[in-house]
């Protein structure tokens, strides 16, 4: 069972995360949680399981969970970060974490016209 940890915050593990803009991730376009992914809340954040790839990941802050869960409500990633009130000095870390999640397939590009899941 492969596991990845999507980190956010200085204590975060950054295994598998790639910088924003790499691997096709762009914060200027709309994203959403992939259809095959389930999110289970935990005190630290959440467990994320992709039934398709059978990959288990961890969202390491509750704020990141909120961002991921509300991606679908916003026209781009910046909007979701803004609405979740992610502090400005942490934005870069969150974008890295989200790029990692996009690379792993946990979140994916939302086509225009897709409805909120």
């Amino acid at each position: 069972m492969p596991t990845t940890a999507a980190g956010a915050g200085p204590q975060g593990m950054h295994r598998g995360a790639s910088p924003a803009g790499v691997d096709g991730f762009s914060p200027d376009v709309p994203y959403a949680i992939s259809g095959s992914v389930s999110v289970r809340p935990e005190t630290f954040g959440a467990l994320v399981y992709d039934f398709h790839t059978r990959r288990l990941s961890f969202l390491k802050t509750r704020l990141l969970v909120r961002v991921v869960e509300t991606l679908a409500d916003h026209p781009d990633v910046h909007g979701a970060l803004e609405a979740a009130e992610v502090p400005a000095h942490q934005r870069e870390q969150y974008l890295k974490a989200l790029a990692g999640l996009a690379k792993a397939g946990t979140i994916q590009l939302r086509r225009q016209g897709d409805t909120t899941p």
């Binding site: 389930s38 399981y49 961890f58």
Partner: protein
Amino acid sequence: MKLVEHFVEGLTSPICLTWELTYACNLSCVHCLSSSGRRDPNELSTDEAKAVIDELQRMQVFYVNIGGGEPTVRSDFWELLDYAIAHDVGVKFSTNGVKLDKARAAQLAATDYVDVQISLDGATAEVNDHVRGPGSYDTAIRAMENLHEAGFGQFKISVVVTRHNVDQLDEFKAIADRYGAQLRITRFRPSGRGADSWDELHPTREQQRQLYDWLVARGEDVLTGDSFFHLSAFGEELPGLNLCGAGRVVCLIDPVGDVYACPFAIHDQFLAGNVRSEGGFRTVWQDSELFAELRGPQSGGACTKCSHYDACQGGCMAAKFFTGLPLDGPDPECVLGNGERELAKLEMDTVIPKPSLDHSHRTSPRERAGGPVPLTLSVRRPDRACDSDPLAGEGTRLPAGIRVG
């Protein structure tokens, strides 16, 4: 707080759990961790098993490792498999391959969210069958061929590392490559019948080192179930969770619905509750006193003074328990040899805990009435000079080199 510290304190649901569906098995492997063989009349019914699956879905337990016994000999196995998958509980099941004919292999290849793990404990029939029984190597290989031909994709080959097969790791990898499978190797533990075969089968200290070196050099795409964390004391930490997850992130549901802290700890001392009790599995997981204790601060005993304690965390609870070592003592396979030293120090009256359950096949035929009665002479010396009860001290540790029977 680091993620791993949250794991220590336990999660709202297990990350995954092992569910043994039946104690029935067509084999009698000498190291069976659950002493399986005969079905237990009290095993969960189909409806009760489905209720457990419903609960796991509500608790968002995303996948279960199903085992046994041999799970596929349950007549409702395929029904329960489909039910779990339909309820967002992914299944990985362990099997010796006995039921995986071409038709079942094709059925599995057409099923999403199922993973198959074939048990193999020798890369040759000779080594495998010594542990798993005559014909079991051929059965496993045939199942692998069937899965491969059916286009199942990457199934797992699961190997318990023993003294006899530790030299075959490269050959196991070659078998996995031949069938497009992934190799999984796990630690042999003195649980179930493994207690009886421990002295013969557990890897020697030199072999532990050999295994560690192999994992570091070749282990990149080899799964380990994070079971070798006690070897991390050799040097760099092995990938994965270097932590005992018992009652914290994993547990076991046995065929009669009893919930134990881990699959290797089938003993009353590690029994947290039963899924048939009020509140079901969720209440056991969240409220049991045993699990609360396992999630609390642990005493590492003398091990905490060791510079490698952060790496090995004192090792495996079940391995200590079933060799008679204290839970806050060293692992019997401590790579520094502390476990061996502690084992040597055990008094002859130390009671070695036995598994609480034994479903082994009764394979020895009864002696014919009137025939000779074989007597086993004990060479054990009495615990005390005045002991006259022939059973005095039965089940206690004997000085090295002395065996009964």
